[in-house]
């Protein structure tokens, strides 16, 4: 997930779609891409947390990135799971489709547009142009650590309520 690179060197990104929107994450964070497996749901988790799955003997969490970003989730033949490395654990992210690998020069990445909203958009690192589309570059750790925070606060909330 390191973004450090010397000038003029391009970095590779995995480009994927969530609904009709295009996103990309650094390729070196990606372990593999698999088809949507059977997922076991976990109680007391938000809807976008699909549950846990077996990846060759490892139990890993699966989230639906579409639901996470409030995009309608439709399961098609294109639907795939991107397995990425998150610290000690792996994590599966369900996306609408995996498109291609992009090699982007630093100069091709523009800063994210300032949006005046209360919504935290820290997890968007920048925007790149691909053909005529805009591709949002995601910082997956930031996008999900906010998530984790929410999960933790929710868990404590439950404890207090109990």
């Amino acid at each position: 997930m390191e973004q450090k690179k010397s000038k003029g060197q391009s970095q590779r990104y995995l480009n994927f779609s969530l609904g009709s929107e295009e996103y990309a994450i650094p390729l070196n964070a990606v372990k593999e891409v698999i088809a949507l497996p059977e997922v076991t749901s976990v109680p007391y988790t938000p809807p976008h947390f699909l549950g846990i799955m077996n990846l060759r003997g490892q139990v890993i969490s699966v989230i639906d990135l579409r639901l996470k970003f409030g995009i309608k989730a439709e399961t098609t033949a294109e639907t795939a799971v991107i397995i990425c490395e998150m610290g000690q654990h792996s994590l599966g992210m369900v996306v609408s489709s995996v498109n291609s690998v992009l090699a982007l020069e630093e100069s091709e990445i523009s800063p994210k547009p300032e949006i005046h909203s209360h919504r935290n958009t820290d997890y968007i690192q920048g925007v790149a142009k691909k053909d005529k589309h805009l591709v949002l570059l995601l910082d997956i750790v930031k996008a999900l650590s906010a998530e984790e925070q929410a999960a933790i606060s929710r868990a404590t909330g439950v404890k207090k309520a109990a």
Binding site: E38, V39, T40, S41, V42, P43, Y44, T45, F49, G51, I52, M53, N54, R56, G57, Q58, V59, I60, S61, I63, M86, Q88, H89, S90, L91, L144, E147, E148, A151, A155, V158, K159, A162
Partner: protein
């Protein structure tokens, strides 16, 4: 430095750390049984090996130091000197020093270490406490009585040295004076493999050469040979074995669709082997707590010496096995607890006598299985915690508000509060009170729990409960609604199929199951887990009775599917540390399932009891 020399040196360092670990155990047992000549003999041989090889490979600092040390040992061996506890302290200090030297040399083979201070100390011991007519430095001291054996061994092997090895190394050795030692060491270093083979051959009882010096070079003996494997690789192995087992299960299910008898037989055989591989690979990560516990001997000794207290450490359950990672991480907290027990827990000797206790304090260190936990206890027979003193201290430190009232139980848990130390003066033994909260954190990071029991005047007991995370459990696979779950069999007391009249609804309590005249609460798993399903009639469900918690209760599930050994997998992102879910597992058909902790789930379902239990469990910390 050429490659050959480098190899020799690193080989030596490897060996030296082994020897030192061995020596430390010997020193400690020496203190207990100073009369035991065989221990002295063993230590002497260890030091001797260390010295000889050090000079041979060119570590002159170590050579010089061990030479001095050897002179001391020789006196002890020849009974020219009494073993006192100060002697053992000195020996241990030397051991530490040597270890430090070895570590330094490991990073930099040309490093020089100054040992003058310690050598002078040894000199004082040599001269001061025994009327020694010989100067300690005298090399004539060196040929030890054991040399008869060595001579045999050496002459026997010198011939081989000459054959196998270039004379260059030998010349160098001979130049550095003493003969036999060096020769032995050359043999040791250059003929390591040869020797190893010899050792294997002569590993049985060797009555003719009981003091064969080479034997001590590999202290673990050829029987217990081991290699180090990185945990990462082990993890990969475990994952693959997990997958193998699942595929095997599929094969077993499908084998009847195959016509060929040979194929069916092969599948059966494969099943056996798979089971074997699974068992072995699962046991790979588990190590006995023995080594960690033995290290505590040293801690107790040093601590009690520094405080001039008489303390015995009583160890039990050292064969209990723990996951390697858990064991490594529990090491430091244990050291803290043990030190604390000796320093804060036990009274001074005078105080003990004044209170009519035996002057010798005892610290018990034990490990055992309890339900789905592994328990490690550190107990002392000291003065126990004083709630009032703790509260006063906490007020003074501002840990609690001045007018805050605490129960005794809550007061005891103040010791885990950050920045809290009960001793008025700071000692360099137990540190500055940074210990206990760190201990607690470490244990909680392992998803364990620390409990505290204390009785004034009788002693204190810290109990570390470690879950069997990362390890294997016997699981009961159950079904509720669409999903299957795993419950540790150790939690299950019994399972019953209730009759219609056994289940009643009581306002305020919810459903109650009458079980042979006893009324216990009944929870439906689906609703405890917040699943929306159409409730099944109780007569078609199974009630699982749990009795290892505070009070018995039962949980209603749709079906019991079977029994399976599962590896507990830690859950990752988003589902860590969820109450009631202790991990994930992979079922026979390859699906991931959750491992449930019914006790926690039940406390979640009943607000009243959960408040109480969580207060008790977590204490006031």
């Amino acid at each position: 430095m050429d490659d050959f020399e480098k190899e020799l040196k690193s080989g030596y360092l490897e060996e030296a750390s082994q020897l030192l670990a061995d020596a430390e155990q010997c020193f400690l047992s020496l203190e207990k049984a100073s009369e035991d000549a065989s221990i002295v003999e063993k230590i002497f041989r260890l030091a001797h090996n260390l010295k000889g090889s050090a000079r041979a490979v060119g570590f002159m600092d170590i050579g010089e130091f061990t030479h001095q040390l050897e002179s001391l040992l020789l006196k002890i061996k020849n009974k020219e000197m009494q073993i006192q506890s100060s002697t053992v302290s000195l020996l241990l200090e030397c051991n530490d020093h040597l270890r430090m030297m070895v570590d330094t040399l490991r990073t930099d083979m040309d490093a020089r270490v100054d040992s003058q201070a310690l050598m002078a100390e040894i000199g004082r011991h040599l001269n001061g406490e025994v009327q020694s007519e010989e100067a300690p430095e005298s090399l004539e001291l060196v040929p030890p009585p054991a040399s008869a054996f060595e001579e045999e061994a050496v002459t026997e092997e010198v011939a081989q040295v000459e054959e196998i090895q270039a004379s260059e190394q030998e010349e160098e050795v001979i130049e550095t004076e003493v003969s036999f030692d060096q020769l032995t060491s050359v043999v040791e270093n250059s003929l390591r493999e040869e020797k190893h083979r010899l050792e294997l051959v002569s590993s049985g009882p060797a009555p003719v050469q009981p003091a064969q010096p080479q034997k001590t070079a590999t202290p673990t003996g050829p029987v217990d040979e081991s290699i180090r494997v990185s945990l990462k690789r082990l993890e990969r192995l475990m994952n693959n074995v997990g997958e193998l087992v699942i595929l095997q299960a599929v094969l077993n299910q499908q084998k009847h669709s195959v016509q060929s008898m040979l194929m069916q037989k092969t599948i059966d055989q494969l099943a056996k082997i798979t089971k074997d591989i699974q068992d072995i690979s699962m046991s790979l990560r588990m190590v006995p707590v023995k080594q960690t516990f033995q290290k505590m001997q040293r801690i107790v000794r040093d601590t009690s010496k520094a405080l001039s207290k008489e303390v015995v450490l009583d160890i039990s359950g050292e064969d209990t096995e723990l996951d390697k990672i858990v064991l490594e991480q529990i090491g430091d907290p244990l050291v803290h607890l043990v030190r604390n027990a000796v320093d804060h827990g036990l009274e001074s000797t005078e105080e003990r006598v004044a209170r009519g206790k035996s002057s010798q304090g005892t610290v018990w260190l034990s490990a055992f299985h309890q339900g789905s936990h592994i328990v490690i206890e550190v107990r002392d027979d000291g003065h126990g915690l004083d709630a009032q003193k703790l509260i006063a201290k906490a007020r003074e430190k501002g840990v609690i508000k001045p007018n805050q009232e605490l129960t005794d139980e809550q007061a005891y848990h103040l010791v885990f509060a950050p920045g809290f130390s009960t001793k008025t003066e700071i000692t360099d033994i137990s540190g500055r009170g940074v210990g206990m909260d760190v201990v607690k954190n470490n244990i909680q990071q392992l998803q364990g729990e620390i409990q505290l029991e204390t009785e004034k005047g009788k002693g204190t007991c810290f109990r570390i409960l470690l879950p069997l995370t990362l390890s294997i459990i016997d699981g009961m696979v159950i079904r509720a609604g669409e999903e299957r779950y795993v419950v540790p069999i150790s939690q299950v007391h019994e399972s019953v199929q209730p009759e219609g009249q056994d289940v009643h609804f009581v306002t305020g309590l919810g459903e109650v199951l009458s079980l042979r005249g006893e009324n216990i609460p009944l929870f439906r798993l689906t609703s405890v887990l917040g699943r929306k399903t159409v409730p099944r009639p109780v007569t078609e469900s199974i009630a699982i009775v749990i009795r290892n918690g505070k009070s018995p209760f039962s949980i209603l599930v749709d079906d019991i599917i079977g029994h399976q050994q599962v590896v507990i997998k830690r859950l990752g992102h988003g589902v860590q540390n969820m109450k009631g879910i202790s991990g994930g597992a992979i079922l026979g058909d390859g699906r991931a399932a959750l491992i449930l902790d019914f006790n926690e789930l039940a406390s979640r379902a009943t607000p009243a009891t959960s408040a109480i239990t969580s207060a008790v469990m977590k204490g006031a910390a």
